[in-house]
Symmetry: C2
Subunit: 249 residues, 2 copies
């Protein structure tokens, strides 16, 4: 049986999803929970890596296993062996050939900014704070310029293997900015992401929000293919994987 | 100068606002911060006590002090001496006779329920989880029966001094229930509250949501003036002081 599992996690304490030489990964915790429940450690395929400190509202992974319990009982069983900041939300059977990474046609990330002089005691681990009032309408106008199929190498951290291989064309199907009171949220949906791409895109939009760039500067930044023309890489803690989109019934 | 300060805090670690013989109170932390910034420890008046573990989005307090800095600078100065889970949001001068408790004509509390089989890794400290699907429409119909001026002794924890003095009539000006996806939120606005009143009111509404009580049972529960006829006291962690209403310009 091929099983698709949806996880939510607070990434603050973790080195990302993928197992790393140093630091605790969400994947390792999940495999420990599988070991405790199933007595086995099947290979798991994650939908993405996620950087250290990045959060997920609905991370997807799959693994093959001859399960002897109803799949619906898996979330509660696994949650008993996971820390509070990692929760299994759902588990369901999927076709044998399904792969959590390759079957994803798009993924949606959100970058959350607290646009306020003071942190929230409830959400300071999930939002990057910028005290000065941002022009969210200008940010939203700039965001529209990212939509489409482009070479996004200007938004890729130096030293990435995708950049080394010239594999830096991606398609952003949606990018928009909304304000909810003191929160400015950047939403991006794309078929794939380069290393740190959302955090650099968010840093570039913040420069628009601060009036240091105009929305019309975005096409030239992309065309320059030069990382130095884009904005800074914002901190991991404001980033959350919101949704992974599959064609599943 | 009489100064009105608005605080937000995550109450998880604290014994409530008021200084208590055992446990750390938010008031003590705030006075320590005043001591660090002003070199003095003026007497502070809080808008309410709040129980151990209860949160506040906008707790109000006031104190008299001959301030030698612009009052607008007080939040940032105090926040440097407060833990991350207690934040000063604002400070402003108010008339000399203003008292944060007696000047409040109403206060709004929210009780947040996660109506889902699995906790959220982001909000498990701020929501009480009930796995079984609640009938939020029935809860909202029941909530309307609490609105008005009533003797709320049936919703008062045993051993309260208000109950001992027969001072248990309060006016609820608004009480409603809304569902936001997996969240069911109970909002109550009243001119005053008895000990554990919102948590017992919420526990009673949950019994309606579970089909164990009907909305039409609420008037009889109030009229019985018997705590045993109301629902259980829900845990503190789901409760948050949302807003304190003053007639200030």
């Amino acid at each position: 049986m091929n099983i698709l599992v949806t996880l939510a996690y607070d990434g603050t304490q973790y080195c990302g999803f993928q197992v790393q030489p140093n630091g605790t990964s969400v994947a390792a915790l999940f495999q420990d929970a599988l070991q405790a429940v199933l007595g086995a450690r099947p290979d798991i395929k994650g939908c993405s890596r996620t950087d250290a400190g990045v959060h997920a509202a609905a991370f997807c992974l799959n693994f093959h296993y001859d399960l002897r319990m109803p799949v619906q009982k898996l979330p509660l069983a696994l949650n008993q062996h996971l820390p509070d900041d990692v929760r299994v939300l759902a588990a369901r059977p999927v076709p044998e050939e399904f792969h959590a990474r390759y079957a994803a046609h798009t993924k949606t990330y959100r970058y959350r900014i607290r646009n306020c002089a003071v942190d929230s005691p409830f959400e300071s681990r999930y939002m990057h704070r910028i005290p000065r009032r941002l022009d969210d309408a200008a940010m939203n106008a700039a965001a529209a310029h990212f939509v489409g199929t482009h070479d996004f190498v200007a938004l890729c951290a130096a030293g990435s293997s995708a950049a080394a291989h010239g594999d830096t064309v991606r398609t952003i199907t949606d990018c928009h900015v909304e304000r909810y009171g003191d929160e400015v949220a950047i939403s991006v949906t794309a078929d794939g992401y380069l290393y740190n791409m959302v955090r650099i895109l968010a840093g570039t939009l913040v420069q628009v929000g601060e009036g240091r760039l105009s929305p019309q500067d975005i096409p030239a930044i992309l065309q320059s293919k030069n990382r130095k023309n884009a904005g800074p890489t914002l901190p991991a803690k404001g980033l959350i994987l919101e949704q992974v989109h599959y064609d599943l019934e």
